[in-house]
Amino acid sequence: MSNKQIDEGLKQWEELYSKSLPNDKPRTNRSNIKIKPIYTPNDWDSDRYMEDLGFPGEEPMARGIYPTMHRGQTWSQRQLVGLATPELYNTRVKQMIANGANALSMIPCNSVYRGLDVDLVDPVLLGTCGITINTVGDMAKCLKDIPIDKMSIGLNDPIPFTMLAQVLAHAKNINVPWNKLTGTSNQSDYISHYVANHMFFRLALKGSRRVQMDEISFLRDNCPGWNPVSVVGQHMQQAGATPAEAMGLTLSTAIQYGNDCVERGMLPDSFLPRFTFFFDISISYFEEIAKFRAGRRVWARITKERFGAKDPRSSRFKFHCQTSGVDLTRVQPLNNIARVAIQGIAGILGGCQSMHTDGYDEALSCPTEEAALISVATQNILKDEAGLTDVIDALGGSYYLETLTNQMEEEIEATISRIDAAGGMFLAVESGLVQGIIGESAMAHQEKVDSGEHKIVGVNAYVPDEDDASNRKVQPWPDQNIMAKHIEDFCSFKENRDDAAVQRSLDKLSEAAKSDNQNVYEQVVQATINNATQGEIITRLRDELGFGNPLINA
């Protein structure tokens, strides 16, 4: 069809359209991109096919990072599991393995995120959302009878990576060589914690920067199958960044980490293949798919142009994604099953490597077992029933999606340029620029919700007469007796260890933190092997490197 025919047809259609819809309001997506009512070859033409799309596993990577994508291997279904005590976790995980799971995932209690041992926290708060895990002894209980050399392990383990140190110490104790371990430090992104997730324990920015680099270089030399970096865009989007901003800020963070590694004398192709990413999937369906496709292109370009990567593995944008809890409603919670399914499809069509789907009741409480099972089933339905994995990048070539992917790419690049202009992500975070961007977008989104421009079913549209969320089953809080027993165990663990060895290794840790050239992470691992608790380790590091108060711009 010639362009002329298209132009004429479009003109006719536009007349018809505006006659029938005289009051059609302009629409924008969450990233503030204007959305037209129709897209045609005038917006995106397959002439641009090789330039914009190419083939899966090849530049420019729009269609996926591997030649076979989900036809070869579907994404890993990484449901975060966190139960109150190590024993409970172990029981649950063994069940899951019996049911065919081949990857582990651990989410610790909030007290662990804050760097506090169980004896320092009000017991009512313990184990409410994850495992209370403070020592190598706790880790041994979590992983009892589990072949850790055959399972990929995902740890929600922020700086200074004490859970990973516990895994390494446990492996040593049971004679599993470290080079047999595989897995990912899912929360190894201090920048994202600093700007957008104030759950996590943090060292001051500078200290975090150092410990993260020490971890990367230690693992590269000692545990090469481990992914030491997962750059977390999820927190920023949850905190209010638009999808395009979240992607741009995440890539800027990755650039910062990459530059820091280079400064440490590491070669890009030695660390980039182990960089991974972690994103939020909102319910803005096409926008999310475009976000992932555009992100893949931008990252491939960054690795080549900025880092001079030669190894194709360096340019692969491996990402885990999680359906967004922010989009879930407390009202009519079963509706969330539909929302999670739609978010999940966006993750799959966006080409994810790994996914977590939320429980429908997450706006009510920590997920119940029933909700957790439904969310696993949702993934299975999407994977095995819906035919979503039959075709690679199934929506590729859609005029709309390709246009949107290009536009998202521009927005992402604009954010990256803004951060570049501020001197890179580290400085942009230190100065509060990033927090400002996120805060403004959060307010803007909230205003759209308040005004009803952004509709949420059950909240500002189709509001039910009665709040039917009441009397719904929620996850009960941990049994206080079980918790008391756990605290007792913790105390006797501390009593029965070699105190002198603990003190010696903690002193060495402080010394390493004071020095400029010793590897702090190596000492974190050593101290853990010597039975130091995570609270003790973190206290030492806080003393030496400072506590990272969140930057709060009121």
Partner: protein, 322 residues
């Protein structure tokens, strides 16, 4: 300070430094309730002990963070510290988010520290209208040092000069506009200039810039304004700053006249003058007498010059004199 036998119970409790009484008294003063003048008259016999230090400077230069590090040293010395942190009110809604305290969290829990956040309530001059009185009530409640952090609007900060004994003007490195603002006004009031965030690049340059600007200024014989670099985040330079504030205090309390710790007369005089001015204004505006309109007409026609008219209004025609 010790209460007298006939003092009212609230005053005794206030003088004992009871936190809740102090807080309620501040609210009464801030809201100018009926009780405010009782409080003022009650406390005046007991003021004049505290050192009042003002921190001013453009938004975001690190005033709150610096106050936090400054009071750390004071607490170690066992001093009682009151902090008044003023943040701007929204001109649209009249509401405010008071966030200075966030950066002072290190001392929040200490018994010796009392922090009060105030909204400017659209009072110009970088303070809230009641600030001077709130300083007095903190003084009476036994604070050894009262620290005031201003809004940080830049140029209109001169009001702090009337309240604080020692004025610390804070700026941060490499901000061209900031320097302009300082040039334009608040340099005049600075007893001490601080270049904060000296951990950032360009700090030394800013220090040089400020020093050369100061060299153009007439120095008083007793005090030549020092430029201190600090990093409130890392704690560098804060001990030095504390020392200099002490020296300034010594210098100004050695001076016979003027304004300083232990010399509340000046403070009361200013307060009286301000209030008297308000009173005169109100009286004049309400005055419908012949004479007033004659004076106004004369000024309008150009028959009487402005300064003469003022003299006549004050000396001759003031209705409240009767």
């Amino acid at each position: 300070m010790k209460a007298k036998n006939d003092d009212k119970p609230w005053l005794v409790r206030l003088l004992n430094g009871e936190r809740t009484v102090l807080a309620k008294a501040i609210s009464a003063l801030e809201n100018e309730t009926d009780e405010a003048s009782t409080i003022i008259s009650g406390i005046y016999p007991y003021i004049g002990k505290a050192l009042v230090v003002g921190f001013t400077g453009s938004p975001g230069v690190g005033k709150s963070t610096l106050v936090n590090s400054y009071i750390a040293g004071l607490c170690e010395e066992g001093l009682r510290v009151g902090v008044i942190a003023v943040d701007p009110s929204s001109p649209l809604s009249g509401g405010a988010i008071l966030g200075d305290r966030i950066r002072m969290a290190a001392h929040e829990h200490l018994e010796n520290v009392f922090i009060r956040s105030l909204a400017s309530r659209c009072h110009v001059g970088g303070l809230s209208r009641a600030t001077a009185r709130i300083v007095d009530v903190m003084d009476a409640a036994g604070m050894d040092v009262v620290v005031i952090e201003t809004v940080g609007a830049g140029q209109s900060e001169v009001e702090i000069a009337e309240i604080a004994h020692t004025k610390v003007v804070v700026c941060s490195p490499g901000l061209g506009d900031d320097i302009q603002a300082i040039k334009a006004g608040i340099l005049e009031i600075a007893d001490i200039l601080v270049v904060n965030k000296c951990d950032l690049p360009l700090a030394a340059h800013t220090v040089r810039q400020l020093k050369s600007m100061l060299s153009l200024r007439d120095e008083s014989p007793e005090w030549s304004t020092p430029v201190v670099s600090t990093s409130a985040l890392e704690g560098t330079g804060v001990v030095e700053l504390t020392e200099i504030i002490k020296n300034h205090e010594k210098m100004s309390s050695n001076k016979k006249e003027g304004y300083g710790k232990g010399k509340p007369q000046q403070r009361v005089l200013r307060l009286l003058a301000n209030s008297a001015a308000d009173e005169i204004k109100k009286a004049l505006l309400q005055d419908k007498s012949e004479e007033i309109s004659t004076i106004c007409d004369a000024v309008l026609k150009g028959e009487m010059i402005f300064s003469d008219a003022i003299q006549r209004l004050i000396k001759g025609s003031l209705p409240c004199k009767q």
